[in-house]
């Protein structure tokens, strides 16, 4: 049974807006309500179609009134900030993430109409440390529980959602643990990081990176909203790349920096409007994280269209490379041509010298005749 009234929080951001627009195109859904603290941009507003926008803070009890009056049956919670920069400082970020979720869940618990909750969570809940297994399945937990930042917030949020599902067992809860997003339009922490022409990384570390294309992220969210899946699922593209490989494929320059210096460098790049390196972000960039997506493809029933490498290639169209791969190929081909020419010259010289000094060896086919 498709949902009748869907409420999407965090609709003014790219992914939330795209999901609301996608749901609004589905004629089976009666109403789509988008909630955010900031109004969507003019361009996004055009795409949103028949989505009704409510400017509200999920930290405010007003959200409960919206849910009950509209008789919302499906809530998609996406208003979770991954960087302090987006929310206006770490304090505000934590307030929005944790308190916002608690308020939203309190409102959902009171509303009898709600029968489905979708949480956009993150694979950051698995942490990132050298003692991790290489690939996380949904049943595993962080070996080292993340001590702060986005990962800690996400762990807390998942905890509150679990408590909610215990108190309201009639509500189907789907928790989606996404890997890092990438794509031409989405603005993620990683895309900002990789847009720098020279990418500083920690010396002596090379993370394994798993990416999910923005279209696949949207596909997973849409299916979770309209489908019947309940439980936790990892969402990520097929295959992995090493961070150094990602930087090379994008034609960026990698600058390995000793880890202690990376923190101060991060503050510098933040001043120039690029990304900041939080300790958590640094751990991820050192060790990386890979999740198993068997549940996504079998039980959940969605196979991402882009693999990690394909998603990165699609993103690469939008960032002009600093080191163009054509140029590298050209230089390599020219050098190879030179070597081949030198090689042939050397071999002709070699054979003429040999030919003069020694008689040509008998060809093996003639041996039988000669012996006979």
């Amino acid at each position: 049974m498709p949902p009748a009234v869907v409420l999407v929080t965090g609709v003014s951001r790219w992914l939330g807006g795209a999901l609301a627009a996608e749901l609004a195109r589905d004629p089976a859904i009666d109403r789509v309500i988008g909630v955010d603290t900031v109004p969507p941009s003019a361009e996004l507003l055009r795409r949103l179609g028949r989505t009704e926008f409510v400017r509200a803070d999920i930290r405010n009890p007003l959200i409960g009134k919206v849910i009950s009056t509209a008789a919302v049956d499906t809530v998609v919670h996406m208003n979770i900030s991954s960087t302090p920069a987006g929310a206006g400082g770490r304090g505000a970020m934590k307030e929005l993430n944790v308190i916002g979720t608690m308020q939203l869940l309190a409102a959902c618990q009171r509303a009898p109409s709600v029968r489905r909750l979708v949480l956009k969570s993150t694979s950051a809940v698995y942490g990132a440390s050298p003692r991790d297994p290489a690939v996380f399945t949904e049943a595993m937990q962080a070996r080292r529980v993340p001590s702060g930042g986005f990962a800690k917030d996400s762990l807390d949020i998942e905890g509150y959602v679990r408590a909610f599902s215990r108190r309201r067992p009639d509500v189907g809860v789907a928790v989606l643990r996404f890997t890092n997003f990438i794509g031409p339009r989405i603005d993620s922490v990683l895309s900002g990081f990789l847009r720098m022409p020279v990418v500083p990384t920690a010396l002596g570390y090379d993370a394994r990176v798993q990416l999910l294309h923005e279209d696949d992220a949207l596909g997973v969210l849409t299916r979770a909203t309209t489908g019947e899946f309940t439980g936790t699922v990892n969402a990520g593209g097929e295959g992995t790349l090493l961070l150094s490989q990602v930087i090379r494929r994008l034609g960026r320059l990698q600058l390995p920096v000793p880890s202690p210096a990376l923190g101060s460098l991060g503050r510098l790049t933040r001043r120039f409007g690029y990304v900041d390196y939080s300790p958590e972000q640094m751990r991820f960039l050192n060790f990386g994280r890979v999740v198993d997506t068997t549940v996504l493809r079998t039980e959940f029933g969605y196979t991402p269209r882009y693999s990690t490498a394909e998603a990165l290639a699609d993103y690469a169209h939008t960032v002009p490379p600093v080191v163009p791969p054509d140029l590298v190929g050209d230089v390599a081909a020219r050098a190879q041509g030179l070597v081949a020419r030198a090689g042939s010259v050397a071999s002709t010289v070699g054979t003429t010298v040999h030919g003069r000094l020694r008689p040509a060896p008998a060809s093996p086919g003639l041996r039988a005749v000669r012996d006979a």
């Binding site: 050298p130 003692r131 991790d132 297994p133 290489a134 690939v135 399945t137 595993m140 920690a202 010396l203 002596g204 570390y205 090379d206 394994r208 798993q210 295959g239 992995t240 790349l241 090493l242 150094s244 490989q245 990602v246 930087i247 090379r248 494929r249 034609g251 880890s259 990386g288 890979v290 080191v323 791969p325 590298v328 190929g329 390599a332 050098a335 190879q336 070597v339 081949a340 030198a342 090689g343 042939s344 050397a346 071999s347 093996p364 086919g365 041996r367 039988a368 012996d371």
Partner: protein, 302 residues
Amino acid sequence: MPEARVIRLRPDDEQSHVPPPSDPSWDEQVAGGLEFLRRRVTGEYETDEFGFDPDLTDHVLLPLLRPLFSRWFRVETHGVENVPSTGGALVVANHSGTVPVDALMATVALHDDHPAQRRFRLLGADLVFDLPAVGSLARKFGATLACSEDAERLLCGGELVGVFPEGFKGIGKPFRDRYTLQRFGRGGFVTAALRTGKPIIPCAIVGAEEIYPMIGNARTVARLLGLPYFPVTPTFPALGPLGLVPLPSKWLIAFGEPIETASYGPAAAEDPMLVFNLTDQVRETIQQSIYQLLLQRSSVFS
């Protein structure tokens, strides 16, 4: 009427038409190197979810280890026919030598001396992956953290997994205890093999004990550096960096007959007595194999 038949007079003539495979000429080698560099700069190579980089391993890491393998330690490999050409298997070996050179040499042996050129996926200690540079290089070489999740995932994927259950107890044991096996962990490797139903291949490595004869252990230094031991050998740290050159002992690596685990069923992993018995069986097999190899070797350096 008698049947006409062609009788080949000199059967070896047929083969002599085929020229012997020659080493690539220098210009082909340089061209290959340039192609490798182009791939590395543009990132057009594959890596797997464990961080294994076959391109780097084949073109840089293995060629660097080969002189050590064939010239310095003159490694002889026995019993590669016991290692299956396809499918998962768990190779269990003894650990020694202060620095895990034995794991690297076993990797070269399985790649170069096995007809199927098998990749050896090592399971390494936590410490390896805690260290910068070493950890990321180990992953690129095909190693991953020794934990049941990774071991089972690799085995299910049909990989040849290598494990050294003695761990630091084996590699950091004093020289006087050479060739005596230490306790075999907690039998985690047997559990992984039972759960996945893959065979266990015992492997004995002789020669690694003598490369850095550890006559002492500077415990205070080790504690300061956060290491499990700090080796003192006749040449290290007395001779400084020169002490890092391993002694050129003669190496023998022997793979024993596979111990089959599939017939026990995956539920057998929950039976501690069976796990202990299998662990002991593997340990005994390796110990016996070591004694036999030691008898074969005429002296330490030849």
